[in-house]
Symmetry: C2
Subunit: 639 residues, 2 copies
């Protein structure tokens, strides 16, 4: 007679009785305790980790568990065989994920420590009570206003626009000489304070003073609506860059933009995108677009050129020259941005043609410019831009990775929103996938992290070989030759929201390979360029909205990230917009970014044979040189 054992789950009401040889996961099902097992009980994903509080289990596999984990009683529920009475603690799913994927979720935005709008903010809202004119003091309105501002706030040399000058006489009198001035008082060299607006009232002190940080990604545009007084972000909004309709990568955009009759089209599309986001963000708060007095904009050089309708053609052709890297503050009206027309629009400086403001801003917000550790910082957007260095030195390059990891250029690609498959596990015997969909429910497509995860699984399960070819000889309905090419079906029509198959095709895989190879080649070239071996890198900081959901293990398995210990990787979310946000709040932060831009040494890859070689070698799963990826070689052997 088979022995039975009592299994107590701390979170469940009643213990269950199970025969010897039952797995913990089977016991959990019996006890109605929910334990995720994305890999379907193959013992590969490590997500079903539980902690044995009393008793012991027999562990068939301890893959993914450190010796400390084992010491602490952690075990994989699908690989643990029950042979005595036990008490089990099931950690919350989020905790498990965080153990496995460092900083998986976007960093919550916290106001920079010590932020004081009086000290750091250039936008000032100053209530004034002005002595009215009289026959004894006939000082003109504008001088009188300036005199009072100097007296109250010690600001002088104030500039004023003609449209505002046309209105100040009536504003001063409408307010009976009690007015509120909105000023921008920049601290940079060669800039002057400027009156943005004047109101015939005094505002409550706690009324927010709005500004926004804008990140123009080639694929995604983000806007953070921020109260400049408290520093708090009140609303975040992001959406596809509408320019996508005219090309998914920067090169296609430049080509489109350079064609006759297309002048201004891309500018209009990106300002439309930004304006919609501003309006969306405003709807989520009580702000009005015309109450936003400052915007800080980041983006790659091409995005910034197109925003300003500056031809970017010379960036595309050797020797790859920007029209600008640093420019003075613009006004919202000049860019047709839906802010206060006199709002200051500060464009964060770039380093070079393909290393834009997104990277300089990210270098600030990521902390690479402050650390002593040898650090890789990368912004995995459409352009793979990366920096190697520390607070003492920085080298940077850009490898045109393309938008594949943003879900673009892939048949069933999509952004990481509800309905996107963000994680895939494939049974190595049946080739059946197990998927996780953002927001639950039926899937609509594959987002970047889903694609990486899918590609890694296809490789590990042997569906795809190291060159990315699909093995059509496998005995599974999932692998088939589609209309044009081989494909793997991730979800059949009856499992999807839209009733159509979700597949990954051979061409999709090729695109992904090229994208990951470009990025990895960037790592190699930067490291070799300064003589730092890849394994000497102490941390890898990953920015970019895509990085929010990336799975390090999977990214290493496909050879996108270097094979370093997981704990060396840190996902920071959208470092570009975060840097813009820092600069929005503090002139010191902006100054720091300017210094960073000056400090970075740019490696031009497009004419670099070393890059070409590194790229060609990286066009395989995970790489031609498997010694660069020892952990992957080992995993592949284990499957």
């Amino acid at each position: 007679m088979t022995k039975t054992h009592q299994v107590t789950f701390e979170s469940a009401d009643t213990p269950v009785q199970v025969p010897t040889g039952t797995t913990v996961i089977e016991a959990a099902n019996l006890a109605n305790v929910d334990i995720h097992q994305p890999c379907g009980g193959q013992g590969r994903c490590g997500r079903c980790v539980v902690q044995i509080k009393e008793g012991k289990v027999r562990q068939r596999s301890t893959l993914r568990l450190t010796s400390a984990d084992i010491q602490d009683g952690y075990t994989l529920a699908c690989q643990s065989v029950i042979e005595e009475d036990i008490t089990i603690f099931v950690p919350p799913q989020e905790k498990v994920e965080r153990r496995l994927v460092t900083d998986l979720t976007a960093r919550k935005v916290s106001v920079p420590e010590g932020y004081q709008s009086e000290l750091h903010q250039t936008i000032k809202r100053i209530p004034l009570k002005i002595d009215p004119p009289s026959m004894e003091d006939q000082t003109d309105d504008w001088s009188r206003l300036q005199r009072e501002i100097k007296l109250v706030a010690d600001i002088q040399g104030i500039q004023i626009s003609l449209p505002l000058l046309q209105r100040i006489g009536s504003i001063l009198r409408d307010g009976d000489w009690e007015v509120t001035a909105i000023l921008d008082v920049p601290k940079e060299e060669n800039t002057l304070p400027r009156l943005i607006d004047l109101f015939p009232i005094h505002f409550p002190k706690d009324k927010p003073l709005w500004g926004c940080a804008i990140d123009i990604g080639t694929t995604t545009v983000s806007v953070w609506l921020t109260n400049l007084i408290t520093g708090q972000v009140h609303a975040q909004a992001a959406e596809y860059n509408q320019q996508i309709s005219h090309g998914e990568d920067v090169i296609s955009r430049i080509i489109f933009d350079s064609k006759e009759n297309n002048e201004g089209v891309l500018q209009r599309l990106v300002t439309d995108t930004i304006n919609q986001l501003i309006n969306t963000a405003c709807l989520r708060t009580k702000a009005k677009p015309e109450e936003i007095y400052k915007a800080v904009v980041v983006g790659n050089s091409i995005m910034l050129h197109l925003l300003m309708n500056i031809p970017a053609a010379n960036i595309r052709l050797s020797p790859f020259i920007n029209t600008f890297t640093h420019i003075p503050t613009l006004k919202a009206a000049e860019l047709k941005l839906d802010l206060h027309p006199e709002a200051s629009v500060e464009i964060i400086p770039s380093v070079a043609s393909y290393v834009g403001a997104d990277i300089t801003a990210g270098a600030l917000s990521s902390g690479i410019a402050e650390t002593e550790k040898i650090t890789f910082f990368m912004d995995v957007g459409t352009n793979g831009e990366m920096v190697l260095g520390s607070r003492d030195w920085m080298v940077t390059c850009a490898c045109s990775a393309g938008p594949a990891f943003e879900g673009a250029g892939v048949v069933n690609g999509m952004r990481a929103t509800k309905g996107a498959i963000e994680e895939v596990w494939i049974n190595t015997k049946t080739y059946e996938p197990n998927i996780r969909v953002i927001g639950g429910g039926k899937p609509r497509g594959l987002c970047g992290s889903g694609l990486i995860s899918l590609l890694a699984e296809l490789f590990l399960a042997g569906v795809v070989d190291k060159s990315g070819n699909i093995d059509t000889t496998l005995d599974t309905p999932r692998v088939r030759t589609g209309i044009h090419e081989d494909e793997y079906v991730v979800a059949f029509a009856d499992e999807t929201e839209h009733g159509k198959d979700i597949v990954i095709t051979h061409v999709d895989i090729d695109n992904l390979l090229r994208a990951k190879a470009a990025i990895f080649a960037g790592f190699v070239v930067l490291a070799e360029g300064v003589g730092v071996p890849l394994e000497a890198v102490e941390q890898v900081l990953i920015g970019g909205s895509f990085g929010q959901y990336i799975n390090v293990e999977k990214a290493i398995q496909i050879g996108l990230l270097p094979d370093l210990p997981w704990e060396n990787f840190h996902f920071l979310g959208n470092t570009a917009v975060m840097g813009a946000y820092n600069a929005l709040l503090s002139w010191e932060a902006k100054q720091h970014i300017t210094e960073i831009a000056k400090k970075m040494t740019y490696f031009e890859l497009s004419a670099d044979n070393a890059f070409y070689d590194a790229f060609m070698s990286a066009l395989f799963l995970p790489h031609t040189d498997l010694t660069l990826f020892p952990s992957v070689a080992q995993q592949k052997a284990q499957v």
Copy 2:
């Protein structure tokens, strides 16, 4: 038998023989020697002055001759009786006029001594030969351009507009990196250098670099087109301010401007006027409007407010407050001026509501701010604005004189152009007028100097009494009661160009009286205000386009100017535009004007009882208090 005498005119071929008792003027007629006698031989105008080189004549009257004149043999041809052989020199007419009316003609514009565009001019045209970008030097276009300008001209912190930034990439390449930069490099506080344009060529060194000085008078607008390299004025153009259609004086303009639906109308009219003048001036040279890179604008406060479409309503009402007196440089496009769209438009600072940039600029160009002499400086435009002082102190006021002396508000008034009656002499017995018409030919109307001269003559001849009433009892067809009121006919229909009578009416005279009373009251109030007796004034400097043709004697006779020796009066022409021209050429001159504006003490007359009293006393010909006008009393007695 009557004796005959030989009369030799130095300028004539043959002497003439005349009987004893012949006048020199009769002898001149006989000899076909042309001697002007505007007063018709009454011995009043002094224009027929000649010099007796040999022999002597009997002088019936020596009116207008100084004892030095008499010593030198000068005599009045109409009053000199020939009683022996004589030789006579007839001075050129211009010389005579200059003797009588100091500096009668407009001062010829001469380039300020020592002008060096490199030192004084803020507009720079800098040819550049730039190292093209390469893979070794990927510096962006804008930084590269700035780097070269710094190297060549030591100018940094240059601002650039977005429209220009959009173009520099292609300009640099079109010019194969040999380009010409046009910069404005102001020296004022709180200003930054600015790139105005960039051209893909090098220009010949002697190609003019255009700028213009603009004077916006209430009645007349003047533009001087100037080569900023040499400083030479290449073309002058002046025309009525088209705003006149909506009111002749500043008050009517303000009222019109304040009405609903009229917003922007006056701005459009004055910019239309300026733009036409710019185009006229350009047609006279080889300049194109878009090649003009700088304009300096003067005008009274109201004109400047209207130019910028800034409501001027508060200037009209107590306590008479300008919206601005000093403002930063604008761009031509902001004001819709027909210059290079990025051209700098500098508005010269004003002192107060009714003492505008025309006066501060005039104070510079007139020299009052440099002299040690106690000086009256006045700008006789539509607003009578005046300054009393010297280089150590200055007080200023404005007395709304109205446009009567500019030919506006008077039935047959006109500007001082061809066809305008500029001088009138009336026979004290027949009341017949003798007129001088600008350009010769038949008259079309009366300009300012003609009106002054006419009014003085009407008074001296007794056609008009000291209150300005026309004596209709006189036995002459020239005096009559017109459709509505009494009038004096200066020229009958058959003598005029347009075939209509040219008259001066009672209302015209009233208008002229009010205008001259306002100006004279200004003199009185300023002088009394600082305790300087009128007779202590050492010189009177008169600016304003109208002042170009004014006749001091006549102006004193009607009580417009104080009764000081003629040689103390100096007519300087349009001092406002001259000041603008100085500021256009030299940043030091502009700085000097700014200092002058700060230094001036403003007397607000509108609430000043002393002014009202002085005005009322001055509403007579020449004045209630005849002791203020001893020379006029004497002349009146002689007639």
